[in-house]
Symmetry: C4
Subunit: 228 residues, 4 copies
């Protein structure tokens, strides 16, 4: 069942390693088949080396495992919440990548400082609010999804496919699992450059609005002219 | 004698290199067989490349070499002190990994700044006091063990399997040699993110206590639900 | 047509990856045949892995594609502007390399802080002015070339073969595509060291003029004695 | 002539690449045969890839090339000055390694901040004075050697086998070419940790004198007990 999806999601999880976004087993990717209402996700606590498509766990939009011998990622309820709230999302990535996580720990959103950011994210990547003690105790991973969705009350998740969870790490998403990983790569690179810019005295200026819009549109707008 | 232990300890030493935790020969791992009261440890000053299980040195809990053609790591008395003081420890790692050592040199403990830290360490990783001139002169490596053990007078070494030795570098431990290495990897990653967070103005906030506890428990508590 | 040029330009694009200057597809190199008035450039949005000389797109000095099945890099009008304005340039590189881009984002030129810089660049690498909203809207990539050329009104592009585009990233050039890449490598290394120097309190001093001149001349002057 | 020396020096030059100490062709190693009064050194401006022992150039202590088809490193007069002034030195390394060079550019010596430093260098690694315009014009590379030697007027080069040349980069030395490279590796690692320590507010404390001495002696003293 859903062999292609499993293969794509397995490859996307392995791409996290290739891009240097994960340490030990700290990261997971999922991808969804919207017609069947089922997503494939990395199994919990399993090393990337030697992982195969058969190890991916299939979960439906009620959060029930529908196929797979292993337990799904403990972050599955967060992925589920994003698939339920954001209709156009086809893939979700969670990492503890170094630079994006440093921003999460410093409780800072990531403003747009340059065209690298604008190519992927059409404005500031938001920081979630902190979870309350009750939210942590009652349904920690589900409520992590809740606070992410709250952060997008006035934002379009397709325009800014990333969030920084306060005290935790980033989630990114996209049309499919691989695009979600590419956005995780872009987010960490932008976070790294933002931290480096911060080495210099003074606060780096945000990118001018007209340049932000131009760069995002040339890749993602109706008249995009980047790529083949 | 203890061929499996030698093989595990040799593999754990080589894992230090794979994870980028060692420069030249600056790092060593040991693992113990509690039934026999004997631990295996890396030989002193030997390059990792080409190292084999037969090169590991076997030492008993009196500090006597019981098997091995080579001299054990010069840090052996520190490992010994930890095995004697911390009953549940099955493996010990010492490195001069870049970021954890930078904290040792700055004489700073590592507070819990995020869930990455909470997944591995249930609170602040302590900094030892400095050794006195007498302690350095009389039994330097043994007394390094002494000040580590002192740092855990009010802490549970199973909850916080790591320490920062002032002016020197980190020691980590765990159920076996490989787990001790994983904790060394996690410690350096957390130290790196803490240093990056420090680039921004202001001090990064510590993780909320309820979130710290939840993350540690979901991996290590009686009702842990992370992993297979 | 121009098989050697295609092969050189393809190899130079792949060298960006080897030197760690690109993330995802963020970087492109071109090289020109001045006799034929045609340059070869990376196709837009194509991954480096598996790219071959046949994928390179040939463009003339009016900006018309003269051969190639794929669309050229969306930054082609910037390359074109540089080839038209700087007669001696044989190759152009554009990256979003981490450290040079961090300077672009911080809106800082790169002064000469040491002999590593002096070996490649005979003085401060300039920062362009910002583009106006009109310039961005009307011919964004062409006008990026315009502001680069403006920055060299009083500078010799052969002496300082690099520029930092404000809010964007670096462009470098040289006698051929490979030299342009070498200059991109040197620029990012110098930017990295400048950022690290800035960690210390106080502003790092600029290199003494006599030492700057000596280092540049021993590699590039009429009596150069570096190399074979 | 001197085939073993050539092979050792070639391998030591390649070890610079393996340890990540060089960018492009920015680094060179030499090694001397004291009986014959001849040293082997990397040829100038030649890429490391594909370099063989036959490419090494043999130079005598008057600075005359005695064998080799290629020109020696343009830094040869500096190596020569060190061999002439420091009798016990058997190998010399020069790099523009990132972190040590950042200190050179910031015009800072490297104090001993921890035991990693103490294991290799028995105190502060000095910074040279700046060369005068006359010194740069008349015999730039030879005078670079002169200011290094001046820095050791009151220091023992065997105890502190490294120097930071102001505005330029580090030189290190040792009993042979390979040891000189190991010291270059150690110097850059110590410089990196010093820069990271400097991220935190306040100046990191210097290592206590008794600990500095103990660590250096356990590796290098008459009663050393590190290694086999």
């Amino acid at each position: 069942m859903l062999d292609d999806l499993r293969a794509q999601v397995c490859a996307a999880n392995l791409a996290l390693v290739e891009h240097g976004l994960v340490t030990l087993t700290w990261g997971n990717v999922s991808g969804i088949d919207r017609d069947q209402g089922v997503f494939a996700i990395k199994p919990s606590g399993v090393p990337y080396r030697g992982m195969s498509p058969d190890d991916m766990v299939l979960v439906d939009l009620d959060g029930t495992v529908v196929e797979g011998a292993l337990r799904p990622s403990s972050d599955t309820p967060t992925h589920l919440a994003l698939y339920r709230a954001f209709d156009a999302v086809g893939g979700v990535t969670h990492t503890h990548s170094t630079h994006a996580t440093a921003l999460c720990q410093a409780r800072r959103p990531l403003p747009c400082l340059g065209t690298t950011h604008a190519d992927h994210f059409a404005g500031t990547v938001p920081l979630t609010r902190q979870l309350t003690p009750d939210e942590v105790r009652d349904d920690y991973e589900g409520n992590t999804g809740t606070v992410i969705v709250e952060s997008f009350a006035d934002l379009e998740p397709g325009e800014i496919p990333a969030v920084l969870v306060a005290g935790h790490g980033p989630f990114t998403w996209g049309a499919d699992a691989r695009t979600a990983v590419d956005n995780a790569v872009a987010l960490d690179a932008c976070a790294r450059m933002a931290l480096l810019s911060g080495l210099l005295d003074g606060t780096p200026p945000q990118l001018e609005a007209h340049l932000l819009r131009q760069h995002h549109e040339r890749k993602h707008g109706p008249h995009a002219y980047y790529g083949q």
